[in-house]
């Protein structure tokens, strides 16, 4: 008797617990925008900045009474790893309520996920990855990009460095598609401009010890050591260069233009590092002041970092599309294909037949006193300070 009583009480309790999930309100008219970027790991500062910027765009749009839909951010972390990115992309794309994606800073991840977006017909706008193949390596209508590619970046870099009198290089690059892409383009333009490449080394993206490569580089006595890859490795290479007593100039690509690079080294080591990035710095962008003001007001606990404005522009463009044609993936894709001279905070956006926006400006940076400073504004340009080997 007692056990039956106990059993029934248990059953009733269980039923009550089970009823809970069924009581839930669901909002209508909500459209989800997915954001995928590195929210953890060595490049997290850029990813979080991008996410905050996308969230800012969504908040501003939701506060706009004229908006037809309420937007919701669906943020996923790709950890800058291709396989995690694939899972995140599948999750976002498989959710039918997600209509558009603002995707990827790490080129390696972006390369692996384009197939998924195509498979699920999800329109995406890339906000930070610079590998050209992401848009040019395929014919997918779903993939677009608002920031520039590394082709321009490396062209300007090669030109700049050879004009300043450097003659010999040793190239280190990481073995992901990103690093390999930098190697390909930089080598091409450098040889065209007359620079000599003494050796090229590929390193894994989580490599700790560069003694083998740097010792050989030291033997060759190059003027410049070029690194095509991301911040964490850049920090290690620069430190180990110093340990081995290599006095060459250190040159990097857009991957090391981040605050984390400077924080990882002490000021003395970071001083004088050169890097190149596509797109103008925030202050000089057409909508830059507006973006910075709104970002300040929103009181995020982290800065927008280098690519925040691009994520903001991409999100706004996506939401414009949804406002115009409704929450339908195929229609949004068709709409984005026709974007021409659209105003945004990063300048006018035009997608070519591969969904690529052309961004002409390439910014040259040098680290001065622990900060990334524009070359033109720096004391190196004016001659007050000298670069290594000059």
């Amino acid at each position: 008797m007692k056990s039956i009583l106990r059993f029934s009480v248990g059953a009733v309790l269980s039923a009550a617990l089970a009823a809970m999930p069924l009581v839930g309100a669901s909002a209508k008219d909500t459209v989800k925008i997915a954001f995928i970027g590195p929210l953890s790991g060595g490049t997290a500062s850029i990813g979080v900045g991008g996410r905050n910027s996308t969230e800012l765009a969504i908040r501003l749009r939701n506060a706009d009474p004229k908006a037809k839909y309420t937007y919701e951010l669906f943020a996923q972390d790709d950890e800058c790893k291709p396989n995690v990115g694939v899972q995140a992309a599948t999750k976002a794309a498989a959710d039918r309520k997600v209509i558009g994606g603002i995707t990827h800073y790490c080129s390696a991840v972006a390369m692996s996920t384009v197939d998924i977006y195509h498979k699920f017909n999800l329109p995406v706008i890339v906000w930070g990855a610079v590998l050209p193949d992401i848009t040019y390596g395929n014919d997918y209508k779903e993939v677009h990009r608002v920031n520039g590619t590394m082709i321009n970046q490396n062209q300007v870099a090669a030109d700049f460095m050879t004009k300043h009198g450097y003659k010999t290089w040793v190239i280190l690059h990481d073995t992901t598609d990103y690093g390999k892409g930098h190697n390909t383009y930089f080598s091409k333009y450098l040889t065209q401009d007359g620079g000599k490449i003494l050796a090229t080394f590929g390193v894994t993206s989580d490599q700790q010890d560069f003694t083998a490569e740097l010792t050989k580089a030291k033997e060759l006595k190059p003027d410049v050591i070029y690194f095509g890859g991301l911040t964490p490795l850049g920090v290690r290479i620069r430190q180990q260069m110093d340990k081995l007593g290599i006095k060459a100039q250190f040159q990097g690509a857009s991957g090391i233009v981040s605050d984390a690079f400077i924080e990882g080294l002490d000021n003395k080591l970071a001083e004088g590092t050169l890097a190149f990035r596509e797109g103008a710095p925030v202050e000089k962008l057409p909508g830059g002041q507006y973006f910075m003001k709104e970002y300040e007001k929103a009181k995020f606990d982290q800065g927008a970092d280098a690519y925040g404005p691009f994520a903001f522009a991409a999100a706004n463009l996506m939401m414009d599309a949804i406002e115009k044609v409704g929450p339908n993936r195929k229609k949004v894709t068709a709409y984005l294909a026709k974007v021409e001279n659209r105003d945004s905070i990063v300048g006018p956006i035009t997608f070519d037949d591969h969904g690529q926006n052309s961004v002409a400006a390439i910014t040259k940076y040098v680290i001065q006193d622990g900060k990334w400073v524009l070359w033109e504004d720096s004391e190196y340009a004016s001659g007050e300070r000298k670069l290594a080997g000059m």
Binding site: S3, I4, F7, G10, L13, S14, L17, A18, M20, P21, G24, K81, P82, N83, V84, V86, Q87, T90, K91, A93, A94, D95, R96, A108, M111, S112, D115, I116, K119, F120, D174, T175, T176, D177, T204, S205
Partner: protein
């Protein structure tokens, strides 16, 4: 309560439990909010505890002994129903297929150390071998259906490389061999460009006699998710492997394997070939793992070295331990918990490795037998229906 239940045929009790489980699963997979998921999990825990107290668990295991075939069929049917309910949604089907694939892998691992005591910390590496084989096969234009058996064969072959150190060593030393291999595997793939390097490879979808798994099956204007193909394939694969494992256990071969695990010296004295048994278990287990890996690679559409790290091997081992070593049903249940729970509870997604390690340590300290421990071997099948074994 126990008396009431003992008058009901065991099979009926088992059937009702399975049906309840199915209903629970359907409701569970539908939930999105963390609160709902946690309350459902609590509900399941409470129900399980109450059920064990009331003697339901004993009846169900009695049924499993009496009519193993019917129970298995019932569960398979329940899985089909579950797949059918979610036929249009991508993500639930993807999760179900992943559960079944992981379940298959865990069954393979079970043969290795649940039955034979050969520790294998490189499960994820062999899984990866299967997946990479699938990638290469589909790319090279061979009929894609060959990817599955080829994945199994390659995993077994590469496992053979390790066989000498694995068989000659014992305990910690054996562990270090497989751990080293697991770490090696990832590094080897990353520096090697022919297998895609750190970027990995994208895998075309599986094609079976002209039916491309990547296409969504459409019936009229009802479009199912293309994951349906993979889910069904995974279910078939799991069923076949499950039957294989059960048969193996009941056979004299399984008896020898158990003997090797429990007491090597004693088994050797009785003429059981220790080396042969270990090699057999290792190779068979790896083949199964490779098979599952091939299907997984095709389903994900993408393989990369970082998907198959040592931590992933540890999760696979955790699944086997959580379910109960040597217990096939427990393994599948554990696989379901380990795969689905972190997906549903977004909040714990980040913490999942930490949580799993903590759970496994707790299990090892307090309940080393696992969730559904493997019972004592039944030497004689029941003579009559309903008779006590």
């Amino acid at each position: 309560m126990t008396q009431v239940l003992s008058r009901v045929p065991a099979f009926a009790v088992a059937a009702v439990t399975i049906l309840l489980g199915l209903a629970f699963a359907i409701v569970f997979m539908e939930q999105e909010s963390d609160v709902a998921v946690i309350s459902l999990v609590a509900l399941a825990a409470v129900a399980a505890w109450l059920g064990t107290r009331a003697g339901v668990a004993d009846r169900v295991s009695a049924a499993a002994v009496e009519r193993p075939g019917s129970i298995a069929l019932l569960v398979a049917a329940a899985m089909l129903v579950l797949i059918g309910v979610f036929v249009e949604d991508h993500f639930p089907l993807l999760m179900l297929a992943t559960v079944m694939i992981y379940g298959t892998v865990a069954l393979g691992l079970n043969i290795q150390f649940g039955y034979t005591g050969v520790v294998n910390f490189a499960g994820a590496a062999f899984f990866g071998i299967g997946a990479y084989t699938s990638a290469k096969v589909v790319d090279s234009g061979l009929p894609a259906i060959l990817a599955l058996p080829l994945g199994a064969i390659f995993a077994a072959l590469i496992g053979l490389l390790l066989v000498i150190p694995v068989v000659r060593t014992r305990g910690h030393y054996a562990a270090v061999v497989t751990i080293a291999f697991s770490v090696l595997f990832k590094t080897f793939l990353e520096v090697n460009d022919t297998l895609g390097g750190p970027q990995g490879l994208s895998v075309g979808s599986m094609k079976l006699f002209g039916w491309d798994f990547g296409d969504s099956p459409t019936f009229g204007d009802f479009e199912a998710s293309f994951y349906l193909n993979y889910a069904l394939a995974a279910l078939v694969m799991l069923a076949l492997v499950f039957v294989l494992v059960r048969r193996l256990e009941r056979s004299w071969l399984g008896l020898s394997l158990d003997a090797v695990r429990l007491d090597e010296t004693g088994a050797a004295c009785y003429g059981i070939g220790i080396r042969r048994s270990k090699i057999f278990a290792f190779v068979l287990g790896n083949a199964i793992i490779g098979l599952a890996g091939a299907l997984y690679g095709s389903m994900q559409g993408y393989v990369a070295p970082t998907s198959f790290t040592f931590s992933d091997s540890l999760i696979l081992v955790a699944i086997v331990l959580l379910g109960g070593m040597g217990s096939p049903w427990g393994t599948i249940l554990a696989a379901a918990i380990v795969v689905i729970l972190p997906e549903k509870l977004q909040a714990i997604q980040e913490y999942r490795f930490l949580l799993f390690s903590a759970v496994v340590i707790a299990i090892l300290l307090f309940r080393p037998a696992g969730l559904l421990p493997r019972g004592v071997r039944h030497y004689f099948p029941p003579l009559r229906k309903g008779a006590e074994p």
